[in-house]
């Protein structure tokens, strides 16, 4: 089974499923002009773009964690998450790989965030990407099948077959 990890967060892919690190220079080679999601996972009938954000990383300074939570709650993080998705999608499409429905999963290592706050950011992300076209009508060629902002607990509840956890010591 493949484990995709970054710092202190990890997800374990079901057997037979492949995933790759995307957000590093050797993967996409276009750091000068694009933002990228952390991982791309190929499932049988869909593709997952996965982004980790970890304000509770044990190595993070309390000041930085607090600043991140503030950025999250204020919504300043939304455009960052949007850019990562759009750029990654464009890259995959231009490389001829974006053929299956793509889901965008943001995993937050922040147990203090309430479900109301996660719901607010999920809604904001759907508006930012945007999931629907002008006038709220569906896109003729949808470029995102679904997206959500989750913490470890909600991720494991909705995606038990791709368990997420802390790497730990």
């Amino acid at each position: 089974m493949t484990v995709l990890a970054e710092d202190d967060l990890q997800i374990t892919l079901p057997s037979g499923v492949v995933g790759r690190k995307f957000d590093d220079e050797t993967s996409h080679g276009l750091s000068h002009c694009m933002k990228a999601v952390d991982f791309i996972v190929e499932m049988d009938d869909c593709v997952l773009f996965v982004e980790f954000k970890d304000p509770e990383n044990p190595k993070a300074k309390p000041k930085d964690s607090a600043a991140f939570i503030k950025k999250f709650l204020s919504g300043a993080i939304d455009s960052d998450l949007k850019a990562k998705y759009r750029d990654s999608w464009l890259y995959e499409m231009a490389e001829g790989r974006a053929k299956k429905p793509i889901y965008y999963l943001v995993l937050m290592g922040a147990s203090s965030l309430s479900e109301a706050e996660l719901l607010a950011r999920t809604d904001a992300l759907k508006r930012q990407i945007p999931v629907t076209g002008p006038g709220d009508r569906p896109w003729k060629k949808p470029f995102v099948a679904g997206c959500a902002v989750m913490n470890l607990a909600s991720w494991n509840k909705v995606l038990p077959h791709i368990p997420a956890s802390r790497v730990g010591p």
Binding site: P14, M43, D44, D45, C46, L48, P101, Y103, L105, S112, S114, E115, A116, L118, L119, T122, D123, K126, A145, G146, C147, A148, M150, S154, K157, V158, L159, P160, H161
Partner: protein, 344 residues
């Protein structure tokens, strides 16, 4: 001006045996509909109201009857509904240990058949208060007091009382720094001052006088608080009861309302409020400063359907949290809808 420290309700409306200590700061009462949040506020308010002004003439039981307005004025209808006879007792305690109680049964009809204890001593120590009901009343002030006095309308007395308090004249003498700061902040928020002409309230600003009926309801609420501070109803040592401050308020104004409540608390006003609103709760959590005293009281029905309470002095400790639980359910359904297509 000693503050309220505890309430004990035995078989009162939906409460079987509530014994709840309060913060002398801000008490935020949450719970689903029908868990008795407003009832709690009204009992406490009745106990405060009879210590000041014309209500001093009223007994605790009469004030209870008037604020609850039960059918045919029968006080026994405030007993918890059971198939058998029920003994009801409501006791409010203040700093220093003074207690006020009312005892009756579901068969008691008249308020003067209620057994009261501690009332004489209780009334010696004034406890000024204001009760802001969910429905905004200032815009309906003209003629309301006269009609209510003739008992032509059977309104709960909290509506009459808040109008009377709003009509109180401006407090004379110098205004201390903190109170002035709060008044100035409110004036900025409502963009003017409130003036009364006869029985009509107006918002006075550069554009002239704007009658209350033309103002947004949220603005009327802030204007009412401005009046109550300006006329000295809300001073250090007083008690503010506010039923659902969020009603008709734009969520963007919620932060200002919470800031005003916290400032009043810092000036020494004890606050009791009920809410169904996540934004309001979260604003308290985010704006609370180190020395602020905030207690969250969660009302819920236990297995026997009686309402019981759990309290916490931290937001994350609120359990059960009916408001957050609603979001939790929405979030679960949103995730299912958004990500349901990812098959194992």
């Amino acid at each position: 001006m000693s503050k309220i420290t505890n309430i004990k309700l035995d078989n009162f409306t939906s409460f079987a045996g509530l014994d709840q200590p309060f913060s002398t700061g801000v008490n935020i009462i949450i719970g689903a509909n029908g868990t008795g949040k407003t009832h709690l506020l009204k009992v406490l308010y009745a106990a405060c109201a009879i210590t000041v002004g014309e209500d001093k003439e009223k007994s605790f039981s009469l004030k209870l009857r008037n604020v609850f307005n039960p059918y045919e004025g029968r006080i026994g209808r405030l007993s918890r509904r059971q198939s058998t006879s029920v003994k009801t007792k409501a006791t409010v305690t203040r700093e220093g240990g003074a207690k006020l109680s009312a005892e009756f049964s579901n068969h008691t009809h008249k308020f003067d058949d209620v057994k009261l204890s501690g009332e004489t001593a209780w009334k010696k120590d004034e406890l000024a208060s204001a009760y802001i009901p969910v429905k905004e009343m200032l815009a309906h002030a003209p003629g309301f007091l006269a009609t209510a006095a003739k008992r032509e309308i059977a309104f709960e007395e909290v509506y009459v009382d808040i109008i009377k308090r709003a009509f109180l004249p401006k407090l004379m003498g110098p205004i201390d720094k903190n109170r002035q700061r709060l008044l100035t902040a409110l004036q900025k928020a409502i963009d003017g001052k409130v003036v009364a002409k006869g029985e009509h309230f107006f918002l006075k600003n550069k554009q002239g006088d704007l009658e209350f009926t033309l103002l947004a309801e949220g603005m009327r609420k802030l204007a009412l608080i401005w009046l109550l501070i300006q006329n000295g109803t809300l001073l250090s040592g007083s008690v503010l009861f506010w039923d659902e401050p969020e009603a008709n308020l734009n969520p963007a104004l919620m932060g200002e309302v919470v800031e005003v409540i916290l400032e009043l608390h810092r000036l020494g006003v004890q606050v009791f409020l009920t809410t169904h609103n996540y934004v309001l709760l979260k604003e308290f959590d985010l704006r609370k400063q180190k020395d602020d005293q905030i207690r969250y009281i969660s009302l819920f029905r236990d297995a026997s359907e009686a309402v019981t309470a759990k309290a916490s002095d931290s937001y994350l400790g609120v359990d059960p949290n009916a408001i957050a639980a609603t979001f939790s359910d929405l979030y679960d359904r949103e995730l299912k809808r958004s990500l349901g297509g990812i098959k194992p």
